[in-house]
Assembly symmetry: C2
Homo-oligomer: 298 residues x 2
């Protein structure tokens, strides 16, 4: 659920721009006026405000905000005003300038966005910082962090549902060998995580659990002293979580061929689809999915 | 100069498609007919033929060609019929299945295309092979080859003209140190080549020559036994060659501010612009550029 509240009667975009301009003018800045406008407009509305503002006053709204605001308030207003790709670019750039813990931010942007979103963030990075994201990530990091982060931020993963089970088995074996030997910076381990599609990684992680008994992140034991290991574990968690998969599979394919879906789901995830539904869903959503899967009354 | 000859009177696209379909039908294939059409149509015409063929016969022309033709003839017709991004995807895929020398193909595609073209090749790779280019490159290569090729094929370089001379100096120093120590697989050396913009790499290579006396590829000595070193030298040559730069700089900025261009050109390339023009151009082209640079009569 979104928490954003937009007034029932939204002022015209021209009016919003005039009010913002007014908030910047004169002695001091009218922060309350800025909040009353920007904090109550959705993404499309904010985008339109930025365009109109630039057309009207010949200056990017971001630039005006940058001149007028400071510190945490500036940061929250600016991040909120940026579109998602620009926001990622900004956060990533910030992360390349800070200490190691911000590697987590870079990993999250690289691993939780779709291929298209990550690409758009890289394009926004060019536009804003006049260089590439990977340039700054490479320059900022070194050693194992660089070995993992550079391929993650430059990935353009395949996003289809096709899964190669033979490959999943052989790569689960590679992962298990490397982790058993504590070879956490191994090139093949990183290659698998950085280049395979999320569907393929999911299949590999499921094979891992089936064959070796543990979830992979149980085997990547926590070690508060080892920041790289923490980053690696978080990477596996981000890549291995595909929360929308269940709904996507059932709703897009239920009507096509129920039997094939079930077999395919079990083959890929090594768990029967019905059990996954019961485990991960509840209420009407669960009932709906189970009905689509052929349980209960018609 | 293009060597393609297109007839003065090109048949309609429908007619071309009918003729192609006829060439595939019946006993045997009419290769001469296929050549007489496809070898004499430009890229836009071939693209239109593919679209119309698919709309009319419900099958991709490539698929028909694949079924009807064999060996080298199939390969040349198919590569010619593909659009540039698909062609790159196809060639890259082929390269990932072959011996080491095909790493050269991957490097060329990665380093000689624009950022947009490389991205389009990666997108075409998804569409055709149902996986990512970097997946296959990572899986196919290992050791130093992988260390160099993976970041090259995933690069999305910044393409602006901005150059940071301080950085060029410090990275020229890094390159010289690593090469002097024969550390050809060094992470920083690879990072510089794989992530910096071509303009920045050019500036770095010029600094290298100015400070250390040799062109960098003279220092990356040839060694027929060392395929990796050969690949690295070829990479540097591809990235360091920016043949369109001279024309681009002069024509796009001559009218803006002549003095600034000259200073900037010398700063970046460490060669006066006039001398670069005289060295690299001839005839009317040279005269034109020199005139724009303020030489000779108005």
């Amino acid at each position: 659920m979104s928490t954003l509240t937009v007034p029932a009667q939204v002022p015209s975009v021209t009016e919003d721009c005039e009010q913002l301009r007014k908030a910047f003018e004169g002695w001091g800045t009218n922060e309350q006026l800025i909040i009353s406008i920007l904090a109550h407009r959705n993404a499309a509305q904010r985008k339109l405000i930025r365009q109109t503002y630039a057309d009207t006053y010949g200056e990017d709204l971001l630039k005006s905000l940058d001149k007028e605001l400071t510190n945490d308030f500036e940061r929250v207003v600016m991040l909120w005003t940026l579109d998602p790709a620009e926001r990622d670019a900004f956060l990533a750039n910030e992360a390349t300038k800070r200490w190691t813990s911000s590697n987590q931010v870079l990993m999250e942007i690289a691993c939780t966005r779709s291929s298209k979103q990550l690409l758009e963030a890289r394009q926004a990075y060019h536009a804003r910082f006049k260089k590439s994201l990977e340039e700054d990530v490479g320059y900022h990091t070194n050693g194992d962090f660089r070995k993992l982060l550079l391929p993650l931020v430059t990935a353009y993963r395949y996003e289809g549902d096709e899964v190669n089970i033979t490959l999943a088995k052989s790569e689960a074996k590679i992962l298990h060998e490397k982790i058993s030997n504590k070879a956490y910076n191994d090139e093949d381990l990183i290659r698998i995580l950085a280049t395979r599609s999320k569907a393929q990684i999911n299949a590999t992680l499921n094979q891992y659990k089936n064959v070796y008994g543990n979830d992979i992140d149980q085997d990547l034991e926590a070690d508060p002293k080892d920041e790289y290991l923490d980053l690696l574990r978080a990477t596996v968690q981000c890549l291995g979580t595909d929360e929308g998969a269940l709904t996507r599979v059932v709703t897009t394919r239920a009507e096509v061929d129920l039997k094939v879906i079930k077999d395919e789901y079990q083959r890929r995830n090594s768990v029967p689809l019905d059990r996954a539904v019961v485990k991960d869903t509840s209420g009407d959503y669960e009932k709906m999915l189970l009905a689509l899967l052929g349980h209960g009354d018609a």
